[in-house]
């Protein structure tokens, strides 16, 4: 039993290490983009069109929470482009001199309520219909959670969530699976959930905007390619893809 486990572990370690050796042998250029999780769909398709326009260039992504990415950049992560889902995290990056030049705002995002298809708990909005229901939100301290508490304050309701998730995608997953009666997520998440959820707009939601910023990383060895990627995001093609996913444009 133990011997089998050891063998399996060894195999797993080996197979995990194997692909890491290959990029060194390929001559093509690589652009590494660190972007907030909520950008994964839009940035992946932008990356594909960037690769099509720049033969020989591969765009590699690392999608994670903005603050995690800032932490990794601080530790010297080899990124060329950084896109943050909110201004405070981008500010953290600029004060630490991690970026060259001023980052540019390329999109905004607002919050909305999602409920499982058919709205079984009969939620009507950010109001008393949420009382006693299983509401899931983002935790304070992560961008979507900070926005949620700001919006709740603005509307004048006290939220009593049953769970505060670190990632907005976890909120989505809990509503999609029907575990939760309602969740507060970004408009873009609601759109990505598609027909698995119903969306209920929140009054005054447009007054709490999350700003998305992108910039070139100071230590980038491909800074001209990186600026071209930023130009793609802020340009008409990027803006078209972003607004198609539900982002509002600056």
């Amino acid at each position: 039993m133990i011997r089998t486990l050891v063998a399996l572990t060894a195999l797993a370690v080996l197979s995990a290490c194997a692909p890491a050796a290959t990029p060194a042998t390929t001559p093509s250029k690589e652009l590494v983009v660190y972007a907030a999780s909520s950008l994964s769909d839009t940035y992946t398709s932008l990356g594909r069109s960037f690769e099509a326009a720049h033969p020989g260039v591969t765009v590699k992504f690392s999608f994670d929470g903005s603050s995690t990415l800032v932490d990794q950049l601080k530790q010297g992560a080899p990124a060329d482009v950084f896109a943050s889902a909110d201004r405070p995290n981008m500010d953290k990056a600029t004060t630490a001199n991690l970026l060259s030049g001023t980052p540019s705002m390329f999109a905004t995002n607002t919050l909305t309520i999602i409920v499982p298809k058919g709205n079984p708990a009969r939620i009507t909005g950010l109001d008393s219909s949420l009382d006693g229901k299983k509401l899931v939100v983002c935790a304070d301290g992560v961008p979507c959670g900070t926005a949620t508490s700001k919006l709740a304050k603005l509307v004048g309701v006290t939220l009593k969530p049953v769970s505060q998730e670190t990632k907005v995608t976890d909120v989505r997953a809990k509503v999609e699976s029907g575990q939760a009666d309602a969740g507060i997520v970004y408009v873009t998440d609601a759109k990505a959930s598609g027909s698995k959820v119903d969306t209920i707009a929140i009054k005054k939601a447009d007054q709490v905007k999350n700003e998305y910023l992108v910039g070139v990383v100071a230590t980038s060895k491909n800074s001209s390619l990186a600026s071209q990627f930023v130009a793609l995001v802020t340009g008409s093609e990027g803006q078209k893809i972003l607004s198609g996913a539900g982002f509002a444009l600056p």
């Binding site: 932490d71 935790a139 505060q164």
Partner: protein, 245 residues
């Protein structure tokens, strides 16, 4: 070296001056107590459910026993998120078992009980595997001797089998507790995260890391110390087991 350096580095990064303040914040103490409470509950559950299972498995052979052994140790190698998804699919509000439970008024969703279920699911294999291994390896002839001397099966179980397996049971229990303490993925997926109810120490660390790395590291060090203590207990017992009897 490879194992020690990151752990020692963590101690170097701790903000010792602010440590008491960091650890006494309501979120941190809530998480710590919740972790200890749920781990205790899940360890007891592991013992209640796992010991009989280990006994049965150690005394069976054939295809079904092999299948049982594989099933019983599977959660050990599953990525925790997968374990959480499996629990969700079985016990979620929309799942078949979950629906039957809620017909009886039991709603696990987002409760502390869900945390205990998740911890038990991932921790029990550690107990079962170590106890089953110990039971199977040596002592069947002791039991046979006891039986030929006229002891009843219950007496054999109470006086021979369990005492012989005691060190393995103790170390398996400590391992299960340690695994439950570190449980993260299944809890996050299945139980959610709310201060004082479902937000255990690892979840609080994950959240604190988003905004305040110092708190995250302080809590990590606490977790590290508890885990090290548990492993020390385990190794003491395994030395007892290794000693000639």
């Amino acid at each position: 070296m490879f194992l020690a350096v990151p752990l020692i580095a963590m101690f170097g990064r701790v903000d010792w001056l602010r440590l008491p303040t960091l650890l006494t914040s309501p979120a941190a103490t809530d998480a710590l107590w919740l972790s200890l409470r749920t781990c205790l509950a899940s360890t007891i559950l592991c013992l209640v459910l796992g010991l009989p299972l280990a006994l049965v498995l150690s005394r069976s052979s054939g295809r079904w026993a092999t299948a049982g052994r594989i099933l019983a140790s599977l959660p050990m190698v599953l990525p925790p998120v997968v374990a959480g998804l499996a629990l969700l699919v079985a016990l979620g509000r929309r799942a078949w078992l979950g629906r039957h439970l809620s017909a009886f008024g039991i709603d696990l969703a987002f409760t502390t009980a869900a945390v205990v279920v998740a911890q038990t699911f991932v921790a029990m294999p550690y107990l079962v595997v170590s106890v089953e291994g110990a039971l199977r390896s040596a002592q069947e002839h002791y039991e046979i001797v006891a039986a030929t001397l006229g002891a009843s099966p219950t007496t054999i179980l109470r006086r021979v089998t369990l005492p012989l397996a005691a060190p393995a049971i103790a170390s398996g229990t400590a391992l299960a507790f340690a695994r439950a303490l570190g449980e993260f993925g299944a809890t996050l997926t299945f139980a959610g995260s709310l201060q004082g109810r479902t937000q255990t120490l690892p979840l609080e660390i994950y959240l604190a890391r988003e905004s305040d790395t110092d708190t995250a590291i302080a809590l990590s060090v606490v977790l590290l110390i508890i885990a090290a203590g548990l492993i020390a207990v385990t190794s003491v017992f395994s030395r007892v087991r290794g000693a000639p009897s």
